[in-house]
């Protein structure tokens, strides 16, 4: 959770190229939607996933570790998690 605090600073300045709204959706839908949306991005672009299922805090870094996309960080605003992922380069 110490790392969580440093991520917050980093992601504050991030501008996403695409946003996917997963508010109200539960596992596995946020990561399923993420994997579908990331396909629409160009390499190096940033996807912002907004979700309120707390599972995403652990699931998105896990998804990134497995798929090779870069987990940039997340921040919580009013019970919603804003997660930032950079599409991996070729």
């Amino acid at each position: 959770m110490i790392r969580h605090a440093t991520w917050i600073k980093e992601v504050m300045s991030l501008q996403a190229d695409r946003v996917v709204d997963c508010v109200g959706l539960y596992c596995p839908m946020p990561i399923v939607k993420t994997s579908q949306e990331i396909g629409e991005l160009a390499e190096g672009e940033v996807l912002e996933v907004v979700a309120d299922d707390k599972g995403i805090v652990s699931d998105m870094p896990a998804w990134c570790a497995k798929t090779g996309h870069e987990f940039l960080g997340l921040e919580e605003r009013d019970g919603e998690y804003h997660v930032f992922v950079r599409k991996r380069g070729g």
């Binding site: 109200g24 539960y26 990561i31 399923v32 993420t34 579908q36 991996r88």
Partner: protein, 161 residues
């Protein structure tokens, strides 16, 4: 690491809604993480991927009796616990809708779209008097245990649900 496509296999033995949902949750998550996913449906698990209006004909008297008692289809599956003659299941369906969780039917379609492979066990089909026409179109293979064992032997994840 991420460039190597890993294999996940799930044996779906149970024909119960809650277990089937768990199987499809994991299958769709694994497919979303770049894994090649195969679900092997056997015994009661065949009910999960049966058409609701499948013939369920069967050749023998006992198969026809079984067909009457064991009607398949994703929307017909009971809960493994607290089914309560359908009351528990009805409550579960209301709750799932309230929390915007996809139904089992929607999870099956989603799995198909994500490239999850569905294999129906031919031995169980023969036992229950089911034919290929009794299954939903997502089923892409009818095969036996060797097909499953070959995939399972090189799987990073292998579950029996």
């Amino acid at each position: 690491m991420s460039d190597r496509e890993e294999v996940a296999t799930i044996v779906v033995f149970s024909g119960e809604l809650d277990r089937a949902l768990a199987a499809f949750n994991i299958a769709t998550a694994a497919a979303s993480m770049g894994m090649e996913v195969t679900m092997f449906f056997t015994f009661w698990g065949l009910n999960v991927i049966r058409k609701e209006r499948g013939s369920g004909g069967g050749k023998t008297f006992l198969q026809r009796m079984l067909g009457l008692l064991n009607r398949g289809g994703a929307a017909r599956l009971p809960l493994s616990r607290l089914h309560m003659l359908g009351g528990g299941k009805a409550a579960m369906k209301v709750l799932m809708r309230e929390f915007r969780m996809p139904s089992l039917g929607e999870m099956i379609s989603l799995a198909g779209e994500l490239g999850v492979r569905f294999i129906a066990c031919t031995t169980s089909m023969a036992l229950m008097g089911l034919t290929e026409e009794d299954f939903i179109p997502e089923v892409d293979e009818f095969a036996g245990a060797a097909t499953y064992v070959e995939k399972a032997s090189r799987s990073a994840i292998n579950l029996f649900i």
